[in-house]
Symmetry: D3
């Protein structure tokens, strides 16, 4: 049976491990059909457009090589590096957690707020929202301005709650997206604190990719 290739498009093994833990935890029955990849030559984190562009090339190469064995691909970075190039290469479904998380949020409301790791990511993210046709959903994006490796810890938790609360109260968001693959573990806690649905991009992308793997007609 063909596998779901879940690709962390940076070179950080701990990030891949976090993604694996999230994915296996959410869909344990599918665990043995999941393959996880770390792109060894990619930047350690995707924090600017240059990183995203480099990851895009490596991701496309990975998809090209894995295509024969894969039933679906999931790009596990909120910036979706290589999404459209990968779709040119394979006839299997390719899902990006960024596009998928915006889509998932749209099921809960029409005013979406995004928590970013860094203020420097915001303009890049908005270009992506525009490119996928969902710019008008996003009523605000605010940054916690912590390093990527802090994105799952205690300091991060407090900052994410603070930022998500501002998105709710100042920007009128009715659903929140955690704009980084590394914040997955915080989802339930943020949701409980802020009182709005909170979308974890890894979970959102995984749901779409798993559905495609098991139900798609493989167009």
């Amino acid at each position: 049976m063909k596998k779901l290739h879940i690709i962390n498009p940076n070179s950080s093994q701990p990030v891949t491990d976090t993604i694996r833990a999230t994915a296996v935890g959410l869909l344990p029955d599918l665990a043995d059909r999941m393959v996880f990849a770390t792109l060894a030559d990619a930047p350690a984190g995707i924090v600017n457009q240059g990183h995203s562009d480099r990851a895009a090339v490596l991701l496309a190469d990975h998809v090209r090589h894995a295509d024969a064995y894969a039933g679906a691909f999931l790009i596990a970075c909120f910036s979706d590096p290589g999404l459209y190039a990968a779709r040119e290469i394979t006839s299997s479904p390719v899902i990006g957690i960024g596009q998928a998380s915006l889509a998932a949020a749209a099921a809960f409301g029409s005013r979406v707020g995004v928590v970013a790791i860094s203020r420097h990511a915001i303009a890049r993210h908005f270009r992506h929202y525009a490119a996928v046709g969902l710019r008008s959903l996003v009523v605000g994006e605010r940054a916690i301005d912590l390093a990527v490796d802090q994105s799952g810890n205690d300091v991060a938790r407090a900052r994410v709650i603070e930022v998500a609360t501002a998105l709710r109260d100042r920007d009128g968001a009715e659903v929140i997206i955690l704009g980084c693959a590394g914040m997955s573990a915080l989802r339930a806690e943020i949701e409980s604190s802020v009182g709005l649905p909170v979308v974890d991009p890894v979970a959102a992308g995984l749901a779409v990719a798993a559905e495609r793997l098991t139900n798609a007609a493989h167009v």
Copy 2:
């Protein structure tokens, strides 16, 4: 454990049976946490705004009565009757298959085409797309113009393929939504024929509702 209440907001038991078959087929492990309801006093089908308005009131009543036992609600009609009223009543998640299917389609592309049962539904649908903030995604909606009870049969199959092909070739759709709960069984076949991802609203809504049931912080 709280249940997922899946509500067919019309009074047609065969439609409920179809929804049940689809839902149980997609998520068998969750079958014993699903409760299916048919709204006995509702119209036999939701084919105009008056039907949708009547169904909305009955759906809200159902949600009010079932709230103590439900962990999530799924409104299994593409027009999402009663969606916003139900959200006022319960603190559990309420998902509409119409909003959820537009959202699901957005994970695959930014040009969405919708297959309608009847041309008379199209203006009503577009008002709903606008209300949920996703009007700009929909590049076209075309109708098969068959009766609701024909929406799963052979004639319907040929018409849906014809209409979906027109959405792809004339309107430039890159993803198709089957705009009726009764077309679920056709999804894979249409996807295979047309070569685009095809979203079944029941499946799309079920995925969101199931995720909320099992993972949400119950905000």
Copy 3:
């Protein structure tokens, strides 16, 4: 001669009396062609989506029964409950004071501010603005947060002036809509205080409905 049916879609007779006073005051020559209805089984006020959905069903029933005698219908509630269902039932014109008041405001400027009774109405109103295609006109909506039965009194006057001033100065509104049928009596005073055109939905809807009654080709 056929009549103009002016329907208060809640069960509050004082609200109907206010609407009658406004309508007869504005168009005395047409007074004997006006019929006023109160929907006895409807909620006492339309303050949430559930109320609006219930009123919609009753309004459609009223239109069905009155259709033979009516030359035009006016739905006298800013949320326009039952507007589209009524248009399915009758070939006579059906005007909603919500849609009509947005339209009237558009004759004065492209930046419209709305005074709401309650903050809880705002999201519901915005869904309606989107559905009628005029979402982009509304630059702000702010609530006085008083009970419906206070909406015409002294406390209300001061709050409406305060809120309308904020719409003018903070949101840049160049025309104001009083977002409730019960504020009609305040219109001239607010207009004088705030220095912007102020639209009363009852007056706006009445003007359209009366024009249709007397001039339409009854399409």
Copy 4:
């Protein structure tokens, strides 16, 4: 009592006579409060942007001179020449029949079609629709391509029906605007033939201006 100044911003007396007949016919009780002006130095018709610009200057001069005696102004040309300049000059309401007719159409539907006299007017009109913030309402504009002085006759009638039918069937319009002050007499007949509400700009503008004259707080 102050008067309603209805200004035909071209130099054609027959056009002014038509406007007067329409206005007095619609609001006979207000006839003695109406003053009609023809701008003697203006072009004979407003058929291009240059004409509109020249009329704008003359209209502003007229408003400046008449301001002491006027309670409201109505600019009786679909291009609304001088609308914004006039609003700078006087504190009395200034209504343009172009802006007012778009606004009136918005009370009936969110898909508006416009019948133009000439294809050369269409780009100019669309600039005006954008400037007043209602561009997104207009789903199509089609021209009868007849001379201005033919705009009320038999040939015009057949052409207007043909063009309005195309707006309905090809562009999906649900309400029609007659995009010229000279087509007023055709309104009811077109409405009857095409089966959609048809807005006459003179009537639409007159309704707004009369309401302002009699009810406004004279902000």
Copy 5:
């Protein structure tokens, strides 16, 4: 060889002199193909819509008389008075510095801020942005609120820096337009102070007009 007619559509000779100095300084090789005109009968400055409308008529007259000798026209006022009328008159290119400066800014970013001379200009400018189809680019416009004849001096410099900084920091602008022909001399200094590209409308319009003069196929 045909000339580039650069028209200052107000009657202020010092403004024309400033425009001439800017234009000759930017394109000295083209200096002997430039003709500068001051519209003697126009207002001394274009500070409201009435001024702009009057200038529009005089500008169109100038274009009509100069057409035989001109290879291109440049309207050197940010409000582009007479732009569309002039394009009806001549087959030579007609460029407005307002439209051209918005276009130039779009080469640097999608979030444009405009420095206005006066707050009273802002609504008029936004109508023009909408009419040229670029409304969505402008994230903010703020005024220095000085007289036109102060627009190039020391007081102006400090105010422009203050206002441009607010456009950058509060409105998120990534490119600034100096919304008046009289601020040309300040461009480099503002750019250096604010750290964003700053567009001078005269330079932007001149670049387009010069390109058209020398390279266009004279359509």
Copy 6:
């Protein structure tokens, strides 16, 4: 003096030679300040998203190495590969001919048509139009569907005229962009045949970059 680095982000030397000929022909006085680069490791042409992503990385590397010597950079490919990454690297201006050509077109009109080399480029282009905030300007894009190396020859000329005519007559374009760096030589001829302003992206980008090189405050 710092140079203008004009980068052909593919590995085809003949394309670079064409770009050089165009650039030197347009701005001969600046010829000795122009440096031309071909990215040897890049694809031979940018015909899909994968090519564009690979070119983006190489372009960013080039900018990093050349930054000390460059006063401005011009990316000479309509897809603007590496545009945003390059802007992260250097404080010198970076101009993309794609963004610049859309911007240039906006100086002539608000309805832009694009001639593409291949139908497969169109979806990718539209994502870029959205990302730069100018999606709403483009009323149509149509492809000549010839190979890149045919894009300047006789067959191409006839096809470009055919396609540009369709953009004018069917899509209502009032300005045309040649959506490929290789069509530069055809510009004047297409403009003459079609009777609309025609924008060559190389010329448009060069104009912006040269202006930045010589006049910018080097922010």
